[in-house]
Symmetry: D2
Subunit: 117 residues, 4 copies
């Protein structure tokens, strides 16, 4: 089993064991995902870009950032499971689409959102 | 190679080919992740919980939700790569921690944030 | 002085007194605003729509929601001040634009984002 | 009437005229607010802090940032109205609390979240 499939199965069992499936609508899970992303932003908000690039070397901040990334991943995996979406395939498709719109020649050195594709 | 490792490598090459590494600080990527999560919320905001549970069956909304999930995943994978964090391990660790705090007996039927663990 | 102008002036003095102007770039303040909105979402995420409509009557949740709304307002007011934007005028202009796009006849009973205008 | 009271009344009429009150639960409005904040982040995500401080002078980006600030304000005002919260008072109270926790002496030059208060 792939690592994402295994994690998905793990999170699913976690919710089922606690009878939390009743709360896990896509709407609620998207809110929970956004709440966790908000906590991640809060860890980085006052850092300079340079400090943010070194954040994992900070013994206090590094573990907090890692924990927030973990929380975000848990809810994203759970949301995709409830929606019946293959996370990795959805990302791969979006990247292919972005690659057609942002060709290497046109995009080099000019940032753009993947989602603009 | 695992599916997440492969996707990570794919996204990394995408950024490198376009010389976008200069923009990909953790701070900027966290903002981009939050922006994509905002777009996901926007697709679900006026739906009832019941409608949100059926959203993938809607021929107009389903593909849009899937695309937003794809965008969120791309930026989360890229952020974890830049930070040097193993996404799946970070999520697994957080889930274990949540399991100790929200035991099945205490948590059954009472929703709580994973991050409260 | 209007209530928003007074609050703006109050928040500005708060930042200046603590020498926090160095941290208050629009980028950082937008992240802080998003972090506070994430905390607000976290208070509402597991509630049904009906429960959310009664949240202020809950002696535990009501004050928490009010505090999050206060935090969001502080950062929004500060961000607008730093950007030199008149919050109320910007909102009024956007509402006028939305009114032209979502005429009463066309929009009645069909939700749409203000920002789609 | 204060400027916020007038704007609140304006947004309330906008919703009532379109029979949108049915969609305007606190839960839905908080999601809409977060969606708009996501759009604001997206405008600033690839800018350096210095570029973000000059964003209003950019003829393309300035009006977009102002429009996003307007959208955020509309939903925040609407959410506070539906919750029965006085935005300005909630912010003032939170600022007073933050002032007690972050005294000028202790906080000078050290950024902290208002919400940590």
């Amino acid at each position: 089993m792939s690592d994402i499939a295994e994690l998905t199965s793990h999170v699913r069992a976690f919710a089922r064991d606690r009878d939390w499936e009743q709360f896990h609508t896509p709407k609620n899970l998207a809110m929970a995902l956004a709440g966790e992303v908000g906590e991640l932003l809060a860890e980085l908000q006052w850092l300079t870009p340079e400090q943010s690039a070194q954040v994992m070397a900070d013994p206090r901040l590094g573990p907090r950032v890692r924990a927030e990334i973990g929380d975000v991943t848990v809810y994203l995996v759970r949301l995709a499971d409830v929606l019946g979406i293959d996370l990795v395939q959805a990302a791969t498709d979006k990247l292919a689409e972005a690659g057609r719109r942002y060709t290497v020649e046109a995009a080099r050195g000019r940032a753009a959102k993947i989602s603009d594709a």
